[in-house]
């Protein structure tokens, strides 16, 4: 079975600063993917960034980047130049490869508040 743990229930950051959200996971599989999803008050699930486990290079998407430490089973999200629109719940998720791809295991979430 897969597990995903987010140990920070809430985080806050000032606008334009940088914040890092933590995530650890556990799986015995070798073919897996890791995701960060954003859920604003509208409750829409928005994919922020995706990392393939077989890739050593950390994924980046504009102001969002990850620190993927495979041996430590750690997958943190760094948000640079934080904006008010980044205020949301953030979920870390793990999905296996093959036909299990969309069967995601989610963490408990981290509420991020960006202050002006």
């Amino acid at each position: 079975a897969q597990t995903v743990t987010q140990s920070q229930p809430e985080m806050s950051v000032q606008e334009a600063e940088t914040v890092t959200l933590s995530c650890t996971y556990d799986t015995s599989e070798s073919n897996y993917y890791l995701f960060w999803y954003k859920q604003p008050p509208s409750r829409q699930m928005i994919l922020v960034i995706r990392q393939e486990a077989y890739k050593q290079q950390n994924a980046t998407e504009n102001r969002f980047s990850v620190n993927f430490q495979k041996a430590a089973k750690s997958f943190s999200l760094k948000i640079s130049d934080s904006q008010l629109g980044d205020t949301a719940m953030y979920f870390c998720a793990l999905g296996l490869g093959g036909t299990s791809y969309g069967k995601l295991t989610f963490g408990q979430g981290t509420i991020l508040t960006v202050h002006p």
């Binding site: 699930m45 393939e52 979920f91 998720a93 093959g98 969309g102 989610f106 408990q108 979430g109």
Partner: protein
């Protein structure tokens, strides 16, 4: 392009009632999923389907049933609703199981009183 459409957006049920949550996608996706999100928690997989006529249980299937008679539709049936089923329900779909983006619907908020 509508994407993944869920209806209704909100619903209140009485204990013991039944209902069907509708999910339709217009992207010709083979893989479809139902998740539930309890207050302040992450999503948990209820059921999934890899194609028309094929469904299987996820992590929390008890109290639910699904069917997949067409590629587009994947309804979720609640029989004998219980307060423990109060949750937000998300439907999602993807084209294949090869590193494609998972598309989510906007969710159905269900309260069982």
């Amino acid at each position: 392009n509508a994407g993944v459409t869920q209806t209704p957006k909100f619903r209140i049920l009485k204990i013991g009632q039944s209902m069907t949550l509708q999910c339709t996608q217009d992207m010709n996706h083979n893989y479809m999923y139902w998740y539930r999100q309890d207050p302040g928690m992450g999503l948990k997989l209820i059921y999934y389907s890899v194609g028309a006529g094929i469904t299987d249980k996820g992590e929390v299937p008890n109290g639910y049933n699904v069917s997949r008679s067409t590629t587009e539709d994947f309804p979720l049936r609640l029989e004998l609703a219980a307060p423990s089923q109060t949750s937000v329900y998300f439907c999602a779909s993807t084209w294949t199981a090869t590193n494609e983006k998972l598309f989510f619907g906007s969710g159905t908020q269900l309260s069982v009183l």
